[in-house]
């Protein structure tokens, strides 16, 4: 898609042979990925593949044990999420994105609250916070009736979108999304993917972590596949089809076997025509029309 910048500028985030162990458990081994401005890098993997470990390293929650982590060409080692944030890397967690009992506007500015006044009179700029929240959400296409409602009263998709809008508003250059569509229905997943694409079009580099190849292929430019803590594949979109991606993620021959076991009559047009069990109804959207 819009990967003109690749040649000149270094990638916004480049991980090279990153490894991480928790005690004697090797959670991640020699994983590499690149994130470019205006592109979406998808990290695919089943449960326990090391996706969460990878995201925690990128987000600065855990330091990596070995390998190189470079932000815009400069090698870094994040001591806290604040460090990563200061370098423009904002992470939106599936469950941890918001504080449910706090109003939407307080959540929106949490950790980066604007203030006015000096000394003991230094206070939150509440009016500005409310207005900005409403405007920033409106720009992303979310029209909230009341920014004072606790954010816990929003739907899962809306909460993800608020978190994405927040990252965009605070000038994030890299947006890391942890399974943003995992707990959502078809319609809400579509809404979230739309905002992910909107963030990409705004020039951000996006890391999309998911176990759903259909969602990934809809918006992704690069695909990194994780399996049991190691990288089992890394592809550009032009080099791979949805079927290949799905097959590779589900483990190639294992999937063939499963297809064979599950099919009543042998499929006439290729091995992947019968939907793998993980695929949802979202598969109906034809990826070819977007390519």
């Amino acid at each position: 898609m819009t990967s003109i910048l690749d040649k000149s500028a270094p990638p916004l985030v480049a991980l090279t042979d990153i490894s991480k162990s928790y005690g004697n458990v090797r959670a991640l081994r020699d994983v590499s990925l690149e994130v470019h401005a205006g592109e979406i890098t998808c990290v695919l993997g089943d449960n326990g593949a090391g996706k969460s470990t990878l995201i925690k390293i990128i987000a600065g929650l855990h330091p990596h044990d070995s390998g190189r982590y470079a932000v815009a060409g400069e090698q870094v080692r994040h001591a806290s999420p604040r460090d990563a944030l200061d370098r423009g890397i904002a992470t939106v967690y599936q469950d941890l994105a918001v504080v449910p009992l706090m109003p939407v506007w307080r959540n929106f500015f949490l950790g980066s609250e604007p203030t006015r006044g000096r000394g003991p009179l230094r206070r939150l700029d509440v009016g500005e916070m409310r207005r900005t929240t409403h405007a920033a959400l409106l720009r992303m296409g979310i029209d909230l009736r009341d920014v004072d409602q606790p954010i816990g009263t929003l739907s899962g998709g809306e909460r993800q979108c608020v978190a994405i809008a927040r990252a965009v508003h605070f000038g994030a250059r890299v947006l890391v999304l942890d399974e943003p569509t995992a707990a959502l229905g078809v319609k809400q997943s579509g809404m979230v993917l739309k905002y992910v694409a909107a963030a990409r079009d705004a020039g951000l580099g996006v890391v999309l972590i998911t176990h759903n190849p259909h969602h990934a292929y809809l918006v992704g430019d690069r695909f990194v596949l994780l399996k049991r803590g190691t990288m089992s594949g890394s592809h550009l979109k032009r080099d791979i089809t949805l079927d290949e991606l799905t097959r590779e993620m589900a483990g190639g021959s294992e999937l063939d076997e499963l297809t064979h076991e599950l099919s009543r009559t042998p499929a006439a047009d290729g091995p992947a025509a019968g939907d793998p069990p993980a695929a949802g109804a979202e598969a109906a959207t034809d990826p070819e029309t977007r390519a």
Binding site: R82, L85, L96, P100, M102, L110, G111, R123, L124
Partner: protein, 345 residues
């Protein structure tokens, strides 16, 4: 439920005012306070006299001063079981240091502030370092301080109470600050009421209008989410424990300068009164929700019940029963109110 709607924005207008009122954490406490007030107005003839009002306010303020930081701490998601005995520790430290080391009570007051803040910092740092539940850590501090109060006092003074410091330099001035009272008409008002209202005002300002307040709500509401967006959760929690210690210092100095001597066994059990006031005032046990004003209303309910039973000439043994019933009722009411407030349309 909606009825006639004449407003422009059909999604916002209905129930907005009611919803907003129901959404206030203090609502349950205010309703409860009104009920208790009406109840004792009928049950005790002398309850409605102005002089009684001063007494009730004084009783409320002694609990209220500590209920404010304890409420903030609960909003921040933690408990402090050592808050009750810490008041006594603070008074003892002030009294004994002044008596043993100097001739001026202000030195003792200053040393006591440092010592008490150190206790608070210890609670907070232990919490964020060990990641143990605050219940365990402050239970440990509670027991250690209880023992320390008795043991050190006996060791230094030879008895379970401190020596009188009433004749020392600076005593009258310190008494003015921490334990004076004045009379308006027939109402005798203690200076603790001013401390209490001042603390409620400052705490409300901090909670609702500063970054620190936002962080307190977030630390209690979802600490991981807060940390992920860069909120210094550990620093916020240590700060909250030190705020409890600061208010324990104020209460401790009041104790010392109103009675001149301090009984080393005092304060045990008071930590529950502070927590009860905060919970009746709408603080959520699990954190992330509540208000400082609510804790003040909770303390006021405490003061009315405590003195109302005396004015009604009942056996004061019933006070704890009342308090327990009130706690249950308030918690139920709060839970119900919050469900109403959060229910999506």
């Amino acid at each position: 439920m909606t009825g006639l709607v004449l407003s422009a924005d059909e999604r916002l207008a209905p129930r907005s005012m009611v919803r907003r009122l129901l959404g206030r954490p203090e609502l349950g406490a205010v309703v409860g306070a009104a009920a208790v007030f009406v109840f004792f107005s009928f049950a005790a003839d002398s309850f409605l006299q102005w002089s009684s009002f001063g007494t009730v306010l004084y009783a409320s303020s002694t609990i209220g001063i500590m209920a404010v930081p304890v409420a903030l701490l609960m909003i921040g998601g933690e408990f402090d079981l050592s808050a009750g005995v810490m008041v006594t520790s603070s008074a003892l430290a002030s009294s004994m240091f002044s008596f043993q080391m100097t001739a001026n009570v202000w030195v003792g007051i200053g040393v006591s502030l440092l010592v008490t803040l150190a206790f608070g910092a210890f609670n907070g740092i232990m919490l964020v370092r060990t990641k143990l539940p605050s219940f365990i850590i402050t239970l440990g501090t509670f027991l250690m301080l209880t023992g320390l109060n008795l043991g050190l006092t006996k060791l230094i003074s030879g008895t379970v109470a401190t020596k009188s410091i009433g004749d020392m330099e600076g005593f009258p001035a310190a008494q003015d600050v921490f334990a004076s009272h004045w009379t308006i008409g027939s109402v005798d008002l203690q200076v603790t009421i001013l401390w209490w209202l001042g603390l409620v005002a400052v705490a409300t300002w901090v909670l609702l209008r500063t970054r620190a307040g936002n962080w307190i709500f977030a630390a209690g509401g979802n600490a991981d989410a807060a940390r992920a967006v860069g909120v210094p959760v550990a620093r916020t929690k240590v700060g909250l424990y030190m705020a409890v210690a600061f208010c324990a210092w104020i209460s401790g100095q009041h104790l010392l300068f109103s009675f001149d001597v301090v009984q080393s066994g005092e304060g045990v059990g008071n930590e529950f009164l502070y927590i009860i006031a905060a919970v009746i005032g709408g603080c959520l046990m699990t954190g992330g929700y509540g208000s400082a004003i609510g804790s003040a209303v909770g303390a006021f309910i405490f003061g009315m019940t405590n003195k109302g039973i005396v004015y009604a000439q009942w056996n004061p043994d019933w006070f704890k029963f009342f308090l327990g019933a009130m706690l249950l009722l308030a918690t139920l009411l709060n839970a119900w109110v919050r469900r109403r407030a959060e229910a999506t349309a």
